[in-house]
């Protein structure tokens, strides 16, 4: 009987130690959540840029410069959204950047560059519309 009691006590002590060790860790966690959603353009239709060139005797001339870019093909789904237009060189260097908000009607965005940009350097145009 004493052996049985001794064995039970020994067992309790062992499990007690195990539970004690199991309870000795303290773990917390920062929150972690994730989600994925699609980033879509406001329109799929093509737009076209045309340039208005003006002779400028002063800098960056003397020579022809671009002060206005007209972008056509704007869809209603892109109305009243922030835009950015950049004229750049063949090497990708920015010559000038214009920002604004697309109109709430019509199909045309008239973008004004100030200061004007040397027409001879313009080899690419970039447009981004967000919102």
């Amino acid at each position: 009987m004493k052996r049985i009691v001794g064995a039970v006590l020994a067992g309790l002590m062992t499990f007690g130690l195990v539970f004690g060790m199991a309870a000795s860790l303290n773990l917390t966690s920062d929150s972690l959540g994730s989600a994925t959603t699609v980033v879509a353009a406001c329109q799929a239709g093509a737009m076209n840029a045309t340039y208005t060139s003006t002779y400028t005797a002063g800098a960056p001339g003397p020579g022809y410069t671009v002060g206005t870019v007209t972008i056509t093909g704007l869809a209603a789904t892109c109305y009243s959204k922030p835009y950015k237009v950049t004229l750049s060189t063949a090497a990708g260097a920015s010559l000038g950047e214009a920002t604004g908000t697309t109109p709430a009607a019509g199909t045309t965005i008239v973008v004004t560059f100030a200061p004007v940009v040397a027409a001879t350097s313009v080899t690419a145009i970039s447009v981004v519309i967000s919102g």
Partner: protein, 123 residues
Amino acid sequence: MNVMRRIASVILVTAIGAVVGSAASLSLASGSLGAATTATPRCTAAGLSVIQNLTASTVSSVTVGVLPAACAGATLQVTVNNGVANSSGSAVVPGGGGSVTVTIAVPPAVTASEQTDLVLVGP
């Protein structure tokens, strides 16, 4: 045995609660974002001939030649700058290209050197 069942139930409920809590923890929406870059092409990269046509002692017009057919329909703008004054004119490049004579609005006086600038816009 009952104690084990209770413990198992508590663990199960806690686990389910944690999973459901994580799944509902974020809500994500996105505004639109569209961007594009395109080249601004030239209708020609070849050399063009530029001849100043004089009337008395002024540059009354400029003839631009060797225009390729790819430039047909483009607007040719020409400006003559004599260092004191400048004046411009424009004309449309005909189909097939060739040469175009642009009349200068206010002919500037001929000097030791005038600068002639031109640009082709469109089509």
